[in-house]
């Protein structure tokens, strides 16, 4: 079945829905999602969304820009970063105008809180910049956007799983998707296609992500012959609940939570004496991991303690109610009276599908755009987060760039773009995936492959990396990719076959992880979240550049493109 729309957006998180709202103002827009829109991973964002409104104290977009540039260890493109921080103010107000239930100040303004890496006066004191709705900020933003889409009658295709991008001669004409509930292939034919497919942290054993975050969009792009950018930069969040990795928001430290080791010491004194627990995530994650590796985890085990007790019951219940509940439900621990066991947990993709500042996907180091193909959100890389994302900058990135991309697509169509011809084998591109898997008779268990992938990514491609481990991981990934060819899907039916979809997701994970390992192996320096124990220094001479990675028959091919520097020259970071 072929569906015709002007714009087809894949993904219904903050990025996809904001784009849908913008595009649907002037053109016929459809949104595809493998989960019901409000089940998208954006729902989980807790702590806040960054915008220099200055509601609590003086703030400015220049300071926010400086923090974003420095937080990203100078690898972010400063033109894109400047757009983020300038438009953040407009977007925060726009969300409020759509009814977003932000928490309030005494004067009735949007309340703002401290978050790691947010400072005033170019890196001096902390500044309250994170707008929040208790600790349900993502929920508040996502629901607000979904509600507005309902109001505007945006067309949703819910529980449609996108399998392949339809692209020929660098012109995009649509996607092929699988109707999850009934089964069956559908072609979506469009003038513009956007991927807002989110992140990929399910490839690690300990992670904060939803089970649906399997990096599908990134792998579909690789499979279409396009590159991914800066994939080696994977953010580990310092405070995952032990052992599951479920996130305890940075807001917990923003509100004054401490980290202590086995000796009961606030060990950040040693690593980041000035900013302590409110240093950027890469710094805090490495500090925790070092304590654990050197035997100062609690009882010598793989975790340290987060102490919230001194905040008092009232503050905890008012400002961190969801966190309190979550810790109670998942660990049986009452954070008002007890320590919380935590460890670094895989969290966020700094890299992704390369785009320009209007969300157009580019396909090479010269930034040549693909006609009719756009991307935004965690699955994309503009790049505003550089080598390490600042807390609260992701939901804002999704909102600002989702909105810009929606506008860009509407403009593109308004200027007379036509539907491009579908490739002759359009349906086949989906069919081979699905029918191939359903027909395969094999001996390998998808669960065993996934388990091995997640375990080994944790050990060999985690907070700390080195050549030997990355090489080993590459071998493991190759062997898992080989074994994947032998998996069998037991249930062959068409109706809501989640086994089939699980296996497709696993295949996607096995594809994009290779770009992370190969990119990380090549990058012989430490920058932001990419830390090489064998190359512990940042090397601007050789590595002030973005990685582009393609999948070819002979493995991953790399190329590089320059970083855009406008206002702030690279400097050493100290926290």
């Amino acid at each position: 079945m072929v569906h015709e729309h002007d714009v087809v957006i894949v993904g219904a998180g903050i990025a996809g829905l904001y784009a849908a709202l913008e595009a649907s103002r002037s053109v016929d827009t459809a949104v595809l999602s493998k989960v019901f829109p409000t089940r998208s991973h954006s729902i989980s964002a807790q702590g806040g969304t960054a915008a220099p409104l200055g509601n609590m104290e003086e703030d400015s977009w220049e300071w926010h820009l400086y923090d974003t540039v420095r937080g990203g260890d100078y690898l972010g493109d400063q033109d894109a970063q400047e757009i983020l921080v300038r438009e953040a103010v407009e977007v925060a107000y726009e969300l409020e105008h759509m009814g977003c239930p932000f928490s309030r100040t005494g004067e009735g303004k949007i309340a703002q809180r401290e978050f790691g890496g947010h400072y005033s006066n170019l890196g001096k004191g902390p500044v309250r910049r994170a707008c929040y709705a208790a600790d349900r900020t993502g929920h508040a933003m996502l629901h607000t956007l979904y509600e507005q889409c309902v109001k505007k009658d945006v067309r949703f295709y819910t529980e449609y799983f996108v399998l392949a991008l339809l692209m020929e001669n660098n012109v995009c004409s649509g996607v092929v998707a699988w109707d999850m509930r009934k089964g069956g292939l559908h072609i979506f034919h469009a003038k513009a296609v956007m991927f807002a497919t989110g992140g990929y942290a399910r490839a690690w054993k300990v992670n904060t992500n939803a089970l649906s975050n399997t990096g599908d969009g990134m792998s579909i792009v690789l499979q279409a012959g396009l590159p991914l950018e800066d994939m080696e930069f994977v953010q580990f969040h310092p405070t995952g609940l032990y052992p599951s990795g479920v996130l305890v928001t940075e807001g917990a430290r923003g509100e004054g939570g401490y980290l202590v080791n086995h000796e009961g010491k606030r060990f950040l004194e040693k690593y980041a004496p000035a900013k302590m627990e409110l240093s950027p995530r890469d710094v805090v994650s490495r500090s925790i991991q070092t304590e654990i590796n050197e035997g100062r985890g609690i009882g010598g085990k793989g975790y340290v303690h987060l102490d919230l007790r001194h905040l008092g019951r009232q503050a905890i219940m008012e400002k961190l109610p969801q966190i309190h509940e979550l810790i109670l439900k998942f660990s049986g621990i009452d954070a008002v009276t007890d320590f919380v066991p935590i460890l670094p947990t895989s969290h966020y993709a700094m890299g992704g599908i390369p785009t320009d500042v209007n969300g157009r996907v580019v396909m090479d180091a010269k930034n040549t755009p693909v006609t009719g193909f756009y991307a935004a959100g965690e699955g994309a890389c503009v790049s505003v987060h550089g080598a390490n994302r600042l807390g609260c900058n992701s939901t804002m990135d999704c909102a600002v760039y989702g909105r810009r991309t929606g506008r860009a697509m509407a403009r593109f169509i308004g200027e007379g773009a036509e539907k491009n011809t579908l490739p002759k084998d359009a349906l086949e591109r989906g069919r081979t995936k699905v029918e191939g898997l359903l027909a395969a008779k094999g001996k390998e268990s998808p669960a065993a492959i996934r388990d091995e992938l997640q375990q080994t990514m944790m050990v060999n491609c985690g907070v700390f990396r080195e050549e030997k481990l990355l090489k080993k991981q590459l071998e493991i990934i190759k062997s898992l990719q080989g074994r994947y060819k032998e998996v069998e899907v037991g249930y062959k039916g068409q109706r809501f076959n989640t086994e089939l979809l699980d296996v497709i997701e696993l295949g996607n994970m096995l594809d994009f992880v290779e770009t992370i390992v190969v990119g990380g192996l090549a990058r012989t320096e430490s920058r932001g979240a990419h830390y090489r124990t064998d190359f512990p220094k940042r090397d601007d001479g050789s590595w002030m550049k973005h990685t582009l990675a393609w999948k070819t028959d002979s493995g991953i091919k790399l190329d590089y493109k320059p970083v855009v520097v406008t206002r702030f020259q690279p400097q050493e970071r100290k926290f």
Binding site: R39, S103, G108, F496
Partner: protein, 232 residues
């Protein structure tokens, strides 16, 4: 510890009738019902269908009936169920698509029917619309709804009258009616006050099963008062 899980199975393409299938799972400390379902799906029987996404009680995908009560599988610790056989069934009163996955189209339709979105009469300034801390507090207990469907599934008034808007939709209406910035009361009132609206709620309190500890019955009570005071 090996434990028995009795799970509702139904594939309309293959089965004449629904049936229960029993699985033995080795339950480790800290495992939730969702972990068990994943274990079954990944290791024992891939054909089992259920929905899940966030795995920490915030997306609303995994609402189902566990030992007779509507809960989120991902935040129900197996241990908390007190041992013995655990029975897992789909949310009741929605058509089953397959196994534990139900068709929520009607639920969403009712949600949409109450105009669950911000309606402003006046245009905004270039800053925020001010709202006091006290006014903001009034929507606590309603905006947190994750649309999991557990409440509506447990509502006897809804069982009796499938046209009733149901607790989740009405809670969504509350979310906007009591938002000091919203000016959509005039548009929503006829919907709330209609034959299948507020007055079908007989204050049975079944919907307080809500896994997010929200209280739609209470909110509906407040809406009733509001509607009366607006109208008369």
């Amino acid at each position: 510890m090996m434990q028995t899980f009795k799970i509702f199975r139904y594939n309309p393409d293959e089965d004449k009738n629904p049936y229960y299938k029993t699985y033995q799972v080795d339950v480790q400390e800290g495992m939730t019902v969702l972990d068990v379902l994943n274990e079954i799906k990944w290791k024992l029987d891939g054909s089992l269908t259920f929905r899940r996404s966030c795995r920490h009680g915030i997306c609303g995908s995994c609402a189902m009936t566990i030992n007779g009560l509507n809960r989120l599988a991902c935040e129900t610790q197996v241990k908390a169920l007190g041992g013995g056989t655990v029975e897992v069934e789909p949310l009741r009163h929605y058509p089953v698509i397959k196994d534990l996955a139900v068709d929520m189209e009607d639920f969403y339709k009712k949600y949409e029917a109450v105009k669950p979105y911000f309606i402003a009469g006046t245009s905004p300034t270039d800053k925020e619309r001010y709202q006091s801390i006290e006014d903001r507090k009034k929507i606590d207990g309603s905006y947190e709804c994750i649309l999991c469907g557990a409440c509506t599934s447990s509502c006897p008034s809804y069982w009796a009258n499938p046209n009733f808007l149901g607790p989740a939709a009405l809670l969504a209406a509350y979310r906007f009616v009591f938002d000091s910035r919203d000016e959509g009361m005039g548009e929503r009132l006829p919907i709330l006050n209609s034959r299948h609206g507020l007055w079908r709620c007989h204050t049975i309190f079944n919907c307080t099963i809500c896994p997010k500890s929200l209280n739609p019955t209470w909110a509906i009570g407040e809406l009733k008062k509001k509607v009366i005071s607006e109208k008369y």
